[in-house]
Structures are given as structure tokens and as C-alpha cells.
């Protein structure tokens, strides 16, 4: 019995891209500290779902409440929420003209209004956390893909967010670099932060997630603990999807 209010609440959220109904009547509650993996075929709306949480996408109907604040067109509310929500992208999206350290201190100084020294200390702390301290003075394009993604994770963590969103973080990486990023994410998961992760890495889901959600054609088909989800899928579509990606 959880008396605490959910940190993220989707209440009948709908979104259209033009005429395409991409999110259909989404109802989802995410508790504080919960770790959720979202999977599903491409085009199912899973990326759109998490991008609605920090208003990179706008929903057209329904209510979306993040940490007690409802997401509307109110710019102040959006800014407040973006300070609490960190995001890691598939394409890393590091700023190529700044060093790694400058990438990390940019937002704390300009958004968090921290003094430079404090921002740099925090940055070095996060770099230590993702084990990449020695690259602080390098430029992003001088690093490997796996290193860049870890820097991106550190950059999101510098604002001490309550929620971390991962949009297919390992899909653009060469196979030998996927593990270093997944290890970083696992360590993060063990430290109590709320995580929503869109990914195809089922091993990660099994070992880390509290809940696995399967989406298809814009709606949540099934959600369950990893045990139940992988061994006793309830819907045919889930079974179909699992058979395709667990074949190897």
C-alpha cells in the first residue's frame, strides 16, 4: 500500500502527429525511486511517451503530472520540471565545440546559477561516478561512442535530477561499448533515482527493472515485474514480440 503520490502520473494522455494517433489514452503511475523499462516495436510511441515527460513533445489531451506539477503550456512549470528531469539521448547530443568539462558545467552555471568552482567540483564528481575523469579536458568527438554516452549521462546527472529518462541509450553504439554504458546505468539504478528507460536490452531489464512495460501502436499492452513479464506474458502481442527479440 503506497500512500505516497506517484512522481509521474499519466492520466488519459493522448497525442497526435498530424493525423497519426501516436499515444492513445495512456494511464501510467510511476512511484518515486521506481525503475521502469519500456519496450516494444518501433513506431509504438515509447520514445514519444518519455519525451512528453520533459515536454520535448506536447500532448494534446489528458493530464500529465510530474513531481506534483502539471505539464501545460506554462513555461515556468516546464523550466521547473526540466531541472528535475535528466535525459540521455540515443545520439548522445553532446556539444562538440565545448570540452567534456564545459559540457557538464554549462547547465549548472547558467540554469542552476552555481559558481564556477562549485559547478566544476560537481562535474568532476559525476565524471568519477561514470568513471571517465581522465577525459575531462578532451572534446566530445575525440572520444569513443561509449565514452561519449557516459559523458552524456554525467551531464544529465550534474543537475541532480529526481528522474532520469533514457531514450534507447545503447542503440547507436558498437557492440563492444554497450556493456560499459549498461554497467554505468546499473550502478545508477542501485542509488535510488527514478529511472525510465526505453531499450531493447532485455538482460538489463531482467537485472535492474522493477517493472517492464510493453507498448504497441500507442498504448500500453502489458506491464508486469520482469519475472512475470518474461516467463508468463499475458498477451499474444507480447509473446510475439518477446519471441522475436529473445531468439538470439
Amino acid at each position: 500500500m503506497d500512500k505516497e503520490a506517484p512522481i509521474i502520473k499519466f492520466d488519459g494522455v493522448n497525442k497526435w502527429y498530424g493525423q497519426f494517433h501516436v499515444l492513445r489514452d495512456i494511464k501510467l503511475d510511476v512511484a518515486r525511486g521506481e525503475r521502469i523499462v519500456i519496450c516494444g516495436p518501433s513506431g509504438s510511441g515509447k520514445s514519444t511517451l518519455i519525451r512528453c515527460i520533459n515536454r520535448l513533445e506536447e500532448h494534446q489531451s489528458g493530464h500529465l503530472i510530474v513531481d506534483g506539477v502539471e505539464l501545460t503550456d506554462d513555461v515556468k512549470a516546464i523550466d521547473a520540471i526540466r531541472r528535475e528531469v535528466g535525459m540521455v539521448f540515443q545520439q548522445f547530443n553532446l556539444f562538440p565545440h565545448l570540452t567534456v568539462l564545459e559540457n557538464l558545467t554549462l547547465a549548472p552555471m547558467w540554469v542552476g546559477k552555481l559558481p564556477k568552482k562549485e559547478a566544476e567540483e560537481r562535474a568532476m564528481q559525476q565524471l568519477k561516478r561514470v568513471r571517465i575523469v581522465e577525459q575531462a579536458a578532451k572534446y566530445p568527438l575525440q572520444l569513443s561512442g561509449g565514452q561519449q554516452q557516459r559523458v552524456a549521462i554525467a551531464r544529465a546527472l550534474c543537475l541532480t535530477p529526481k528522474i532520469m529518462l533514457f531514450d534507447e541509450p545503447t542503440s547507436a553504439l558498437d557492440p563492444e561499448m554497450i556493456n560499459e554504458v549498461l554497467d554505468t546505468m546499473k550502478e545508477l539504478a542501485g542509488q535510488g533515482i527514478t529511472m525510465l528507460c526505453v531499450t531493447h536490452e532485455m538482460g538489463f531489464a531482467r537485472s535492474v527493472a522493477d517493472r517492464v512495460i510493453f507498448m504497441d501502436e500507442g498504448q500500453i499492452i502489458e506491464e508486469n515485474t520482469p519475472e512475470e513479464f518474461f516467463h508468463h506474458p499475458k498477451s499474444d502481442r507480447t509473446r510475439d514480440f518477446l519471441s522475436k527479440i529473445l531468439a538470439h
Binding site: 493525423q19 492513445r24 489514452d25 517493472r211 500500453i220 499492452i221 508486469n224 513479464f229 499475458k234 498477451s235
Partner: protein
Amino acid sequence: MASSGAVFSPIPPRAAPVATQGLVAWLKRSLFDGYANSLATLVTLLVLIWLVPPFFNWSAVNAVFAPDNTACRAAQEVGACWGVIVEKGRLILFGRYPYAEQWRPLLACAMLIALLVASCLRLFWRAWLAGLWIAALAIFLVLMHGGTFGLTPVETSRWGGFPLTLMLSVVSLAVAFPLAIFVALGRSSKLPAIRTICVLYVELIRGVPLISVLFMASFMFPLFMPQGMTIDVLLRVLAGMTLFAAAYLAEVVRGGLQALPKGQLEAAQSLGLSYWQATRMIVLPQALRLVVPAIVNTFISTFKDTSLVTIVSLYDLTGALQLALGDAEWRKFFLEGQLFVAGVYFVFCFAMSRYSRWVEAYLNTGMRRQ
């Protein structure tokens, strides 16, 4: 906390809320979205209302279309005199070419334009296209110059107007093309002397304005000739334009050579091909395909640059306009003539730039399919 995993019931897709579709929504979104946008729309509309109706009145409603000088003068400030084009049109388009023989430049231009258009279609991208071009240029010269096949000879100083513009652009680019390829290859060469010569040539020509090159051709080339030998003004100017175009084309071709993956030349060499064989059969065809859009852009620039020959007293399309409207009676209607000539240039250059964009898209998809 885990949920129990309820069984879902499928939700069919619904239509989007009305507010995001339709003409009104589009107008709102694109024209009146926020203060800055609405202000911009209002300012633009005001400017358009201030400019467009008077221009429309001048150019269409009150305009005089007949070649009637008195009617034109009567309507002078109020309406355009498009009659000046009817009156002076042939002089503007063909320069001082003899009136009775003007079917010849007309035919020559039509043939050249047809060949240009044909060269744009991928159906014709074959080796014999080059031969076809040489034949077409020869026929062009025969038609324009005469002296054989019973055609009365017309000296080059009387060539003018559109045929001259077309000929200058086409011939200078046709000759500049092989020169540019050699210079581009020379610039990429490992032999320092050859590389230096090519670099010097390209940097010298690209660093000075075209007018200087034309003056150089016009004033200095006669001095270079052996004593007693004169060189036609047209040939001098043509040489100047060719040298100029070749320098810019060489940079374009060099861009293509650099964009080609190094592996291509290595693969060719590993097959035992010599440098010239590899260049001719492997490197150049691919490099040139990569820069076709840039080559078309160079053609557009050269086509516009031919207008500068007016300054060295050759009567191309722009120069013929000056000539035609030197007539005191019609001089007041210079603007209409200028707009007409601008229109001719615009039609050709715009068509070529659209083609260049199409070619770029076509070649890009071609590359991706590989």
C-alpha cells in the same frame, strides 16, 4: 511496486482534435503564432499593399503594348511601355546581325538549347554526347559566320544579343572543362613543380575580378601575337572568359576528387591500371558525378558573367540593350527594356538552378542505393 498486469482491450485510432487541422488552424499557426510573428505578418502585408497595386497598375493595367511612340509618351509616368520591346525586340535579341539573316542565329540558338536540354536528361549521358557537342558547335559556327553553303558571310563584330551570350557561355565552358580537369589533377599531383604551376594559376585568376581578366585579354593579348598578326576581339574575350571559368571549374573538380574515397584509386592500382588509365576510367567518372550540381552552378555564373563583355564593347544581350535604347526617341523607356532582358536571364538561370537541385537530389538517392 508492481501492477498485476491486466489484459488490455485494443483502442482504435481516433481523429485528431479539430483545432490542429484545416485552413484556419494553419493560418493561425504559421502567420499569427505569437507577437513577433503577428507583427511580422502585419508589416509584410502593409509593405505588399504599398508596393504591389501601384506596380500592377503600372505594368499591366495602364501599360501600352503597341509599338506606338506617341501613345507611350502620353502614358509615360502612369503606364509601362511594353511596345518598346515589340519595336526594338529584334535589335535587343540579335544585336547588329543583318536583319534579313536573323533566322540563322535563331536556328543556331534553338539547336544549342535543344542540345543543352538533352544533355540534362540522363538518357543522354553517354560517351557519344561529347562528339555530338563538337558537331553542334561546328554547325553553330558555320550558321553564324556563313561564307559556305551559300550563306552570306557575317563578320564576328556584328554578332550580338542572345546568340552571343549563349555562345560565350557554352564555348568558354566547353573549352574550360578539359583544361579545368588537367589543372585539378595537377593540383593533386605529387610533383611539386606541376602542383605549384597549377596553384599559381588558380589563385591568380580567382583573386582578381573578371573585368581585369577581360581587360587583360582585350588589351594585352594583341601584344602577345607575332607582329602583323591580329586576333579577333571575340576570340580575345572568349580566351579571357575561358581562362576565368577554367580556374573556378578546377576548384569544383578538385572538390570532387577530394570527396572520392581514397580506396577507389588504391583498388584501381591494385588491379594493375596505370595512373592515366585509373584516372580516366575510375576516378574522373565518379568525381565528376559527385560535383554535377556545382558544375551547373558554375554554368549559371558564367552565363551571368557574359554580361561583362559589354564593358569591352561586345554587344551581348546586355550590351545590345544599351545599343538598342541609345535611340533618343525610345530612351525614356529604358526600364521596360531592362526588365525584359532581366526576365530573359531570369528564366534561363532559374530553370538551370531548378535543374541543379533536381540533379543533386537524383544523384544523392543514387549514392544511397549503393
